[in-house]
Amino acid sequence: MKRPGSAIVMTLYLLFLMVPVYWLVNMSLKTNAEITRTFTLWPQDLTFQNYVTILTDPSWYMGYVNSLTYVAMNTVISITVALPAAYAFSRYRFLGDKHLFFWLLTNRMAPPAVFALPFFQLYSSVGLFDTHIAVALAHCLFNVPLAVWILEGFMRGVPREIDETAYIDGYSFPRFFVRIFMPLIASGVGVAAFFCFMFSWVELLLSRTLTSVNAKPIAATMTRTVSASGLDWGVLAAAGVLTLIPGGLVIWFVRNYIAKGFALGRV
């Protein structure tokens, strides 16, 4: 029922988005010989060898485990500390609240490049270098402010009367918060978790700086392999394809909330 123009615009835009991804997938299913010697639009000599290489070599697949570990840790930490803070900002006025809120947001604006070296020194000096928790904490720098901001937006939408009624009914604060308030902002928590996952998963500069072996993220494993062998395009492409999967899964789970979620509860 809409104009055909819209369909054309969207088709072109989605093609623009998908063609480079297709090329990556295409390459991951080819042998290196086919990649470098011929130019083919789809694999002539279909192979899964590149994926086998990654999934059987711990130095490759542990990269995924490491990445997912610190991303999960970061998401849990960020949401846990952001919830009470967001509640405070959405419900109370207190000394310095506005300055504090803005100061929190400024951390989202800090270039990771600025923090790379000091983080390296800080975490080395407290013996956390090359651990998952180090990366998880470092990513809190930009994820906690974001989580506070998103959750505050959603909490502002819950009428105060709900809090007051619960207190009159004799709920204690922690019980009220967990039993009544949390379910009301469940979608907000989901959105905040989505963004924490997203920004922690895609970040490389800090996670690479803070790790060497034990907690090395997959993304960093990829860069090293490129510089070392330089030519193993098939494996590189396969590794790239595998990094798309966690993101794809997350999107699938939140597909119905994407539109609302991206507005950060502020529409």
Partner: protein, 289 residues
């Protein structure tokens, strides 16, 4: 909403405060510390005053990087914001196609930055990349590793590919909140397509658009990984943006003092511009109440 005064709310904010202090304040103090000292190795530091700041502010290398950075961010915003709005206006409103568009559009946003770089590195190569091959076949002398214009074009197209969907999704969320009656009323009033956009759609998108511009400004101003993977800052210094330069200085050359001074100035510039955005945003918020 009327908030009540309660200073005990500080207790609720305390965990965030401790965490952010640990991961932001301590490192920042280290940076400040370095920025005013000089070292000849062996962990021996000397007071250097504002020498490094002076050096950075007058450095032509930094000026050039800043110039490239501002140009890059300006181009990015000039393309992504209108394009994002345009795409959002053409997205299906509901049903299967809407879900499909949302999922495919969100894809690039969840790809690790260096993989984004890798995708475009592969895609653009003249020997094995589709884009490189096609452009060469069409008679263009395209090579992003040797020609600065090609390098710029590649990095910009890559960023448009990577982030336009964020703007589009934000705008789409804004558009979704417009009740059908507004469009119906506009039809009754015989409003033109432009009037519908100007008086119904744009006002509803204003809030999310500001978030989009703010995020896109900050992130493009801090961009590091994607161009680094594709071009390594080259050819020459053509795509060496501020973050790339900073990392080169701090980790490549280990010039801690100048790098620290650079960091502080860099941070302050972002802070200043973001503060302007923030003020505009909260003022607009108040106006709509």
């Amino acid at each position: 909403m009327d908030k009540s005064q309660n200073n005990r709310a500080w207790f609720l904010v305390l965990p965030v405060l401790v965490l952010v202090a640990f991961s932001a304040v301590i490192p920042l103090m280290t940076v400040v510390n370095y920025s005013v000292q000089d070292t000849f190795g062996n962990n021996a530091f000397f007071w250097a005053g504002l020498e490094w700041f002076e050096e950075i502010i007058t450095s032509e290398r930094i000026h050039a990087a800043l110039g490239r950075q501002v140009l890059f961010t300006a181009i990015i915003l000039a393309i992504q914001v209108p394009l994002g709005i345009f795409v959002a206006l053409h997205m299906p409103k509901k049903g299967f196609w809407a879900s499909l568009c949302l999922i495919l559009m969100a894809m690039p946003l969840l790809i690790p930055f260096n993989v984004v770089g890798t995708i475009w590195q592969i895609f653009g190569r003249v020997d094995i990349g589709l884009l490189g091959r096609v452009l060469t076949a069409l008679g263009f002398d395209y090579n992003y590793t040797s020609d600065w214009l090609d390098a710029w074009a590649t990095v910009i197209v890559m960023d448009v590919w990577h982030w336009t969907s964020l703007v589009a999704l934000l705008c789409y969320a804004g558009l979704q909140s417009i009740p059908e009656a507004y469009y119906q009323a506009a039809k009754i009033d015989q409003a033109s397509r432009w009037a519908v956009f100007r008086h119904i759609e744009l006002p509803k998108m204003r809030g999310v658009l500001l978030i989009a511009v703010l995020l896109r400004f900050m992130d493009s101003f801090m961009i590091y990984t994607e161009p680094f993977v594709v071009t390594g800052g080259g050819p020459g210094n053509a795509t060496t943006f501020l973050s790339i330069d900073l990392v080169k200085m701090a980790i490549g050359q280990f010039d801690l003092g100048p790098a620290a001074a650079f960091s502080i100035i860099y941070f302050l510039v972002i802070l200043l511009i973001s503060w302007v955005f923030y003020t505009v945003m909260t003022n607009l918020d108040r106006e709509t109440k």
